[in-house]
Symmetry: C2
Amino acid sequence: MTVDEQYDWVSRGALEIISPGELRAKLKKGKTLRIKLGVDPTVPHVTLGWAVVLRKLRHFQQAGHHACLIVGDFTAMIGDPSGKSKTRPMLTREEVQGHVRAIEPQLYKILDPEMTTLYYNADWLGKMDFADVIRLTSKMTVARILERDDFANRLAANQPIGMHEIMYPLCQGQDSVEIEADVELGGSDQKFNNLVGRDLQRAIGQEPQVVLLMPLLVGLDGVDKMSQSLGNYVSITEEPFQMYGKVMSVPDHLLENYYTLCTDVSLAEVSKLIGGHPMEAKKRLAREIVTIYHSSADAGAAEERWLSQYSKKEQPDEIVEATIPDILVKDGKVLLAALIAGIGLASSNGEARRLMRQGGVKLDANKVDDPMLALTPEELSGKVLKVGKHQYRRIT
Amino acid sequence: MTVDEQYDWVSRGALEIISPGELRAKLKKGKTLRIKLGVDPTVPHVTLGWAVVLRKLRHFQQAGHHACLIVGDFTAMIGDPSGKSKTRPMLTREEVQGHVRAIEPQLYKILDPEMTTLYYNADWLGKMDFADVIRLTSKMTVARILERDDFANRLAANQPIGMHEIMYPLCQGQDSVEIEADVELGGSDQKFNNLVGRDLQRAIGQEPQVVLLMPLLVGLDGVDKMSQSLGNYVSITEEPFQMYGKVMSVPDHLLENYYTLCTDVSLAEVSKLIGGHPMEAKKRLAREIVTIYHSSADAGAAEERWLSQYSKKEQPDEIVEATIPDILVKDGKVLLAALIAGIGLASSNGEARRLMRQGGVKLDANKVDDPMLALTPEELSGKVLKVGKHQYRRIT
């Protein structure tokens, strides 16, 4: 690949690159770049959401570069020393390694193991003493660290920030220094932490890493970031038929997003597909994704089975559940149009009302075309809401 | 001593006790309390200013308690890692120990060595690893540490605060935890750091130390805190005659202050002395101080020699120098009354004008009684300013 081809390939779908000029300059050097990605050692599945950055790492490998996965075992071993967060239990080194071994086969469904090195950051952070920590902290100012959105917001709201919390971005930044990262990948929520790596590298005279941020993939609920704790996810190890069916439940307005972030279909073709029939576009998306994680044959078989079930009955076997957001309940009732938008089946209340007027919305197989219809949560509970040709949600 | 006697003895001259009730409760226990005082291992002399807290520590010893001197060799070994402060050079453990050995005889002019333990905080801080540091930092919030005046002011003024700087108060606080301090002594500028010790002790379930703050002694210039870098100090090792003469140059308005903080003269007697003739009060002060650090005989001899010189000539051999503060120069001239107050020879411009009107001010032996007299710095430079009977300054 030429430098331009590499640049186009690795920047596809990126939300932000800091900075494009530096990335081009690094690619121009013609050397194997070290591409860093942090790995949370506590989650059991690679989801399509996590796969967005892993696939980006794979793109760099395809362009000849080396993947450096950093397992954050140092902080996992400490847990949350203030005891306030239950989501951050203390793990032993053995537990962390067990988690990593369990997830490695999933990682190598996406990455080339020959071009990947797995690092454990306790190997260097665990060896630092207090004097090393003071030298590290001297490279960062308090004001800079408090620029991070969540810190700034909590400080402004008088919510306590433990001093240990402001140490963690430095840990991640030190990882970049230790492995001499050329590029760090992250979700958009990692921007600040990744920039700390740049600061620390610059402070000790290393060339600062390029930061390449990918958008967060919205989950099947069409609302929140795809995450294992929210249940709105597709794991890359799911069986072909199940995976196909889940992808078919992706809300229409997220189709382009999923194509860009979860497949390698060319952007020109994506825009053609999106312009066509949404059902066809979604079937192709589901086939593409099953093909990536299983095979083209598996994708074909899954589609055939799904279509035969789909044609036989009004609604699929498994229906994703959707909870009525509290905020939508006014005077004990919920405006159906607002609910449709609120759970991600339409991009706005206006679009939801249009779909209702056009007869595209059903509640337990009964058409509802009054765009101002409001129901109580009790009336809605347990009913199946259908929006468009193939979007179903069971209201809870 | 009864508890009440102990309380009165150790609280003499204290600016603030946090809290008086806790101090009484600790004294009531009847056990030997551990009284902590941090020692800066970089300065070569014990001055009367430093002696204020050392003498307070001695008062606790006289009441039966144990002195715990903490040598801050840990941070001295790190120096200023950001390289911004030249006043905090990096010292080896050997250099620190050399400094301490050099100053020990001075410390034991005040303290009872039998009731004193010298600790080096690198013995525990130097053994902490990054995980220990994170556990330590988790016991403190960012908001709490930024309450410290100088941090709050610098943050508000957009001046950078290195993250290592906010680690240092935790180091001092950890010292209190390690030695299980019952009371920590400090100058008023140490209030925040000493309170951090209370916070950390409470966080791990120790009974929090009482913090006893002493006022900062104003130096011979009558303006700034007595300090070795400013040159406005009296070292406790100075020869009797020199020491006597320096104390005789203490500005009149600081007499009560020096009596309270530098001698054990009872407060009732002090108020009687201050009410009498200032020259007599100052001679007694000089005798008291020379007696503490030398002997009563030395004090008598020094006084005799000083008085014979003083009576023979208009001005003493050695005259303290005073620099014209830039801020007082307006349109190229300095109001003499403002200068007198500005260099600490009067408590206000009003008092300076009163002294001038009364004929108490001379410039190179010429009486100056025009309270609005203004001169250029060139006209003043090198001249000897005499205010009252025995306060001399050479203007530079």
